[in-house]
Symmetry: C2
């Protein structure tokens, strides 16, 4: 069975050495008191919960899956899931990043992000239940009426109730403008909602007393398309005036999806048959309200894949040190054994280091983005807020798509390290691959992320947001340009920065002539910019590690070696990606649809 050790040392490095998060927290009144000791204590406890309570349930949850009682429409989660959730609630974990006005601990997003990486390493399917709850909390916190907030936020904060987001219908996922679920206004101001939703994660289960569904539907007078969609909060059990649970609302699980992975999460078809809900935000502006939840969810998906990359790496390393097979081509390394441990073989190391470099790069990016989000949410300086918001907007699709694509590559490599043993359930590696695959799809496919990045975040404002990130890169290049020891990192970073600038300009020009040029280049473009972002963080991490070489702490030797690996073996991918991006739209569109 797979093992998991929380990567606390690397988290400390990212939080305290690379980003010095407490310096930023001191500028934010809401978080000024959050010090290093608090952060580290929370992470240590969270890591214990992840590794001791959740990780042992992961393979079991995958094998057992969820089940639906066709008579009662109740969903049962795998053995142990509810007990673990009770423990999570008792520990106060759901409230970590929530508003003290509703019983939350008011800690920074940054800390919650690190917690979620660990929970996802241990058990992504389980973590989706509280993860979606936090999304529902954020949406109602931003857009709910005072009454809705009073009714729902304390219970979502405590974890007593969980949440979902009900967007997809069988005929529409990406294109929500097509959705058909209807909301009929009632005399008392509530709405009766009727329709069929699919792919609803954590859509029904036995872990909490109530489920707070956030449902997209159309009002009778709605314009067609995406501008006629409203958002409603629809509880599984109606809530009495005294706060107790009332009658069952007719929103029932009709079937569970049989999926490639995340078997422990109940992915439901939900049938609403006049379920009572109340409007959240303005009529017909449901997508705006939902996007609060969606953006948080996209960062969350990045953390899911970061978690899987980390845990797959850890297990592959352990196996590669233990498994003996063949001799090193440079002579026996373990002459006392019948063969050498496979970690002596260069390609095994390449697979391991790929996962390691993507995990550590992803952690730097994920925590950095969360820190920006804390500034966006909590800064009292409008200029800081604006800059942070712009960078969050730019980086969100990269966190989502680049980290999830990297996890697909990394978990597959880690499986490969096990050879045939990676393909069987026993070691847990193939589950990581199967679980990782969904992250490239939900909360906006990775193609949608790339269109969001190139079309909306970069070209739509003439590269203004990209230039804000570019300024950070340029600053680093200026600061380190004279440092000879940094040349191996700064030169390729500067080179890639120039190429991204040129590529962006070129694509902008082409897009004027033909909007399909954006769609043709976007996926390659996102990966190139993702590498620019990673190269920036790897250069900064290398700088810190170079400074610390004299300390003798092996952590910094490993960090420096991983940085060198990243620049030598992973960054070069950009050479091909840029060529492909520049090849343009013609090779994609010239074939008639009928000829496919």
């Amino acid at each position: 069975m797979a093992q998991y050790t929380p990567p606390l040392r690397d988290m400390h490095f990212v939080l305290h050495e690379l980003l010095q998060v407490t310096d930023t927290f001191k500028t934010l009144p809401a978080h000024a008191e959050v010090d290093v000791d608090t952060i580290n204590a929370v992470l240590e406890e969270g890591g214990k919960f992840a590794s001791e309570v959740l990780a042992p349930l992961n393979a079991r949850g995958d094998a057992e899956g969820c089940s639906l009682d066709a008579a009662t429409h109740e969903v049962r989660t795998p053995a142990g899931f509810k007990a673990a959730y009770d423990q999570f609630v008792e520990g106060g974990w759901p409230s970590l990043g929530c508003d003290p006005a509703y019983g939350g601990q008011g800690l920074p997003v940054t800390l919650n992000q690190c917690l979620y990486e660990m929970l996802n390493s241990a058990n992504q399917a389980w973590t989706m239940y509280p993860g979606l709850t936090h999304g529902a909390y954020e949406c109602l916190h931003a857009h709910g009426t005072p009454e809705q907030q009073q009714t729902y936020l304390p219970r979502l904060t405590s974890g007593e109730w969980t949440g979902t987001m009900c967007l997809t219908e069988s005929h529409c996922g990406t294109d929500l403008g097509l959705l058909r679920t209807k909301a009929e206004p009632q005399a008392d101001g509530s709405h009766l909602i009727t329709g069929n939703k699919i792919f609803i994660s954590a859509g029904d289960h036995d872990m909490a007393a109530n489920i707070v569904h956030l449902v997209l539907a159309r009002l009778p007078d709605a314009p067609t398309g995406s501008k006629g969609i409203s958002l409603f909060v629809v509880p599984k059990f109606l809530i009495n005036a005294d706060g107790t649970l009332g009658e069952r609302n007719p929103i029932f699980c009709g079937a569970l999806e049989h999926k490639m992975g995340i078997h422990g999460n109940a992915t439901c078809q939900l049938n609403l048959d006049g379920a009572r809900g109340s409007l959240v935000g303005q009529p017909h502006k449901g997508l705006n309200a939902m996007f609060v939840m969606m953006n948080a969810a996209r960062l969350g998906v990045g953390m899911q894949s970061l978690g899987l990359t980390e845990v797959a790496y850890q297990n592959a390393v352990a196996y590669a040190k233990d498994r003996i097979q063949m001799r090193s081509l440079t002579g026996a390394k373990a002459p006392d054994k019948a063969a050498d441990p496979i970690i002596v073989h260069p390609d095994v190391r390449k697979m391991l280091l790929t996962a390691r470099a993507y995990a550590e790069g992803g952690r730097a990016l994920g925590v950095y983005t969360a820190l920006l989000l804390d500034q966006e949410l909590s800064s009292t300086d409008e200029a800081v807020k604006k800059d942070a918001a712009d960078l969050v907007a730019l980086l969100t699709p990269i966190v989502k798509a680049f980290i999830t694509d990297n996890a697909w590559i990394s978990t597959s490599h880690c499986l490969q390290v096990f050879g045939g043993h990676g393909y069987v359930r026993e070691w847990g590696m193939e589950q990581f691959v199967r679980d990782a695959r969904i992250n490239m799809i939900y909360e906006g496919t990775n193609t949608i992320q790339s269109l969001d990045l190139l079309g909306r975040k970069v070209l739509a404002d003439n590269g203004a947001k990209l230039k804000k990130f570019g300024a950070l890169v340029r600053q680093l290049i200026e600061d380190e340009g004279v440092n000879e020891a940094m040349a191996e990192f700064i030169n390729p970073l500067a080179d890639l920065g120039d190429k991204v600038t040129k590529l962006t300009t070129e694509l902008g020009m082409k897009a004027f002539a033909n909007p399909d040029e954006v769609g043709a280049a976007a996926v390659d473009y996102l990966r190139v910019v993702g590498h620019l972002v990673f190269a920036y963080f790897w250069a900064r991490m290398a700088r810190i590690s170079l400074d610390q070489q004299a300390s003798g702490d092996p952590f910094y030797r490993a960090k420096l070696a991983t940085a060198r690996f990243y620049f030598a073996k992973l960054l070069p991918e950009t050479a091909g990606l840029i060529r492909s991006a520049r090849a343009g739209v013609k090779p994609l569109m010239e074939m008639d649809e009928a000829l496919f």
Copy 2:
């Protein structure tokens, strides 16, 4: 459920237009009579069997899997598998490529290869049963004693019995030198074999009357390591002197593996407890004998992944034409519908064309390699035999690793085209991905293939085999260098050819100084050479298609468009791969093992 249509038109193109296989067959006395009509008739019938009989069993076989009766140690295959196998045997399909001396039809490997592509598209898990049987047939045909051949070959040819290859033990897969299974010589010349094998595909089942296991084991006087391994044939039921089945041999399935995919194939742990077998080939030379089987199996694994790429492509295209979602960025293409079919979106096309280009390129390479194998096996001209054998040796690891890696990319892209619907079982796409994953592992992992290519096939003979392929490339460049219409294909092909030459020389030099340089570069190198081979075939296919543009046949328009896509969007990957390969071994080896 997934659909499948045999790609007969493209097979005809590859066989008759690209490779003109009957011209080669005419030079081989054994196949001189095999004409176009025969070939096409066989493929049409084989395609019918695949699409009508096997394809409908694929998803069911995945859901049901195999089961082991713990009391009897008998394995049951999914519903319908045995009936389909009976029909396969009745149709004479197992005998297609077998020796007429044992009841075979004596048709070329080339034809069998095309048949197997289709069977694998329809149902890889099922196809492994006859696939392994054919491997056992080839091994005994090459190395069996006359008595063994008389006993086993007629029944393997007819399909009445099936075969396995029993190599792996729990502590050794890649490194067979470590294996422990023992063979004790008996007074009657037979051997009693004792040991435990794992991961034995088609290791036990209810589809055939007997199973012919080819088992690697050590004789008492065996030297240690890989030079002390002998091969034995061990039937599930002993065979009486009159050819009837005798008592059950103690080779029992102890457990079935729970795998990521190919659930319909029984992957067995086999326990041999003094099972009676007879030596195949020379004592201690078992690996040599097994390699006959292994090389055929490697080509077979390439065909498995080619089949999966093709069927995933077909289903993704059908979905992309049918599913409506969003409008084209260049304006509505289906204004009468609520949205445009997703095939209008450039990145959807990119994913589809990636699978298409890899399928069609893989088919050209797979059939070409099979044709060379026919020359190696059946030519009466020693020089032709030698050239063919050299090219087969060079191309086998490419067929195995490049096609299976491409299938992993392609099936994942095709899943992605379906969005969330690709992640659920219903459409069958996620099964293709899960099934494809094993192909990168078994019959020698793709890392092993790459070491075989760079170390043994290229550097060990100073590039002599590679130069034979290079001569074909150079001939094409000379022939087409003056053809302006071909410049878009010939220029990048020539450029890549030069780069491969330089890279090979550079790696050869480095390998002198440090043998680990081979292991560090091999995986990148194989992918670069794989692209060189594909670029060569795509250029030739483009040439034929250019010549046929005036015919108005849309097949050639599609082929030309796919060639252009390949050169514009897939070949550029080589730029990054070459940089990574040249970065050498240091970034992989400088980190101490303890720091991982």
